[in-house]
Symmetry: C2
Subunit: 463 residues, 2 copies
Amino acid sequence: MVIPQIKNDLMNRKILLDESDIPTHWYNIMADMPNKPLPPLNPKTGQPAGPGDLSPIFPMGLIMQEVSTERYVEIPDEVREIYKIWRPTPMYRATGLEKLLGTPAKIYYKYEGVSPSGSHKPNTAVPQAYYNKQEGVKSITTETGAGQWGTALAFACAQFGIRCEVYMVRISYDQKPYRKVMMNTFGAEVYPSPSDRTEAGRRILAEDPETSGSLGIAISEAIERAVMDDDTKYSLGSVLNHVLLHQTVIGQEAIKQLEYAGDYPDVVIAPLGGGSNFAGISFPFLKNNLTEGKNTRFVAVEPASCPKLTQGEFMYDFGDSAGYTPLLPMYTLGHNFKPAAIHAGGLRYHGASVLCSQLLKDGLIEAVALQQLECFEAGVMLAKSEGIIAAPEATHAVAQVIREANQAKEEGVEKTILFNLCGHGYVDMQAYDDYFAGKLTDHSFTENELKEGLKEIRELQPL
Amino acid sequence: MVIPQIKNDLMNRKILLDESDIPTHWYNIMADMPNKPLPPLNPKTGQPAGPGDLSPIFPMGLIMQEVSTERYVEIPDEVREIYKIWRPTPMYRATGLEKLLGTPAKIYYKYEGVSPSGSHKPNTAVPQAYYNKQEGVKSITTETGAGQWGTALAFACAQFGIRCEVYMVRISYDQKPYRKVMMNTFGAEVYPSPSDRTEAGRRILAEDPETSGSLGIAISEAIERAVMDDDTKYSLGSVLNHVLLHQTVIGQEAIKQLEYAGDYPDVVIAPLGGGSNFAGISFPFLKNNLTEGKNTRFVAVEPASCPKLTQGEFMYDFGDSAGYTPLLPMYTLGHNFKPAAIHAGGLRYHGASVLCSQLLKDGLIEAVALQQLECFEAGVMLAKSEGIIAAPEATHAVAQVIREANQAKEEGVEKTILFNLCGHGYVDMQAYDDYFAGKLTDHSFTENELKEGLKEIRELQPL
């Protein structure tokens, strides 16, 4: 093997930025959307929900971002200072994967696994902790499923000296002890949910002491604890507008990094659970489609076992199972939809964020649903060729990248692909073990299974 | 909190280098040592061991590096190309930890946890796989304890299309399943040791079917398998001269990074198991002591439960428990020393590399032994202030850094401290859990316990 011009910067595998390149503003796509999203509704009145509906659980700084239509929101210096711990994140040219596939496509990925929690989640956890701190909040509650979000918030709270109380779905609490210990190490208290610390938890435990819990129950517990105390607020790691806003540092950095490489993506690919990592890498590029006539495709990848984008319906639905949130206009499988227990816990959410849903409805982004066996196979290929073991969520993007790269090979066309490698899989190795052991299966629905979840919300609020 | 001059590069937390800054040569300290190490001995003849003694198990490219006295050894382009996956590694100014300690000391750390296996080990795994590939080797065997080394070699072999066969100490195989799965993901075969694949393994299993294994047994199995086939060689992850040589990329990058920061260390600190990560960060700076009149201190930190540097003796001893290696002149506790089952598995080795031992004997480096409770406490402080959860091995350096920083505070003196954060702890969270649960204890020896191990080698070969 001869490596030509090894000292030529254009042969770099990594494209790095200086800390002074950390974006100074978050980008708010609301300003540039041709059709603004429908308003959230107060479920009791059926009228548009205002800031007052959210103030018991969120600080006003975040509520104002939730409803903002300003194109740019300035990032506070204190937040940028903490971002420096891991940002700007590296961009890689996937030369190893390209060679393995023998594709004419150029593949780039933004790697968010270098953060303190190992995923993109701290991008929003830090500003959320900051705005809470600004308003005198002493304690933040949240729920976590697989544990990525709880870890990120635990880290962020440690930076600002805020108490952090995490309700972790019991089955994950039992099956993913490492995640719990990571949260403890950052100083958070972690309780298996349902717990006996809330009315909601006690009610569920009384009905079924052996329940494995659910994200919906954990959200109910976290919100109940937040409402209980004046100096306690609640925090959510995806779905909401302000969360997607904070993640746009990813795409803004990616644009600059591709400029250094002299390139621009034909397609941007990311997994979609609630929508925050997809939005984070996509929205700054989508702005260029909307305002500068660029023609990039954006592909959101969801698991076949939780296909809200490809098989759900665009309707008003609750953001949580318990029905505590306003009604949100989104692609959904119904807020009581129970996804199969696949390993990509971060993608097992019944709905897609309002912003992503409106963009899909308007044909500005695409969606595809992939089976988990194809995703793990892609993850193993990535590990061997690029040296990074991806989180199960992130392997969904990798699998779609391989489809696009193989298509480029078949058609003999050049293509520039960018994807978001949103987290590493070091704490998810059980998933790979189950894959190697042949314990994982693909998933398909009967039509009735999908209709069942939607029936309930159709009665609730037709759109 | 007001952050002054946030866009001033001198306020950066991270100091990054371009891929063109990856060193072009490894630095061989043998060239500059005032006293060269004594030769290894063939245990059968008592005469100095030559390349021929090593050729059944190592490729000649590595054997020549093992005995080289050239100051610089060129890094092959193919190796530098793979180094680009994670090198140059970032250097951090530990502003969070400095603030937490309220110290006048400036603290920097080199972070090797960004590599594919999460530690410094791939720095040598990749060139070892390369030189084996050059000589037509089809399969490499090795042993692994905690799993860091096995993971690194699995990754390196995947890059060159070499089969990788890892003998993993049974107790680790059972207790650290994530590490095994990481090796599988990179394509390696992993067997719990003792296994029924070797005579050594079968003999031990016959004696004690329930044995938990040991590094010594695993080494015996790996060497036996390597000797068995002509196209199979064996690979070691620390101790030997060529391994330490490969790790000097760490210190060479660190010198350049501190130049950018306008700084130079008064003290360099690293954990010492066999010696490779300590050597990697120290030797390039030690060269400046030896050749340019610099006056940096170098502190090797070992666990109090395996104190070869501070309580061992400088003698000829085997590098492995089974007695397959040449006799090496080193600080040792005796090759059959059984360290307590602390969590920092990478530091539980009975001896220190020949190079580090000679330098300690000549007073050119220092050593300190620390208890594990102090180390985990330091690890938690690092996590909360810097956002990185360190491997248990790496917390030993952090604890010593905190001692030095607190001393600087007490004495009111400025001091520049550099340490090697040689790996992350994501796959070692059980250790932190045991620490939080109060399950860990400190360790002390009776004088007899230490004498016992040395008695045997005294009879073997007096020095």
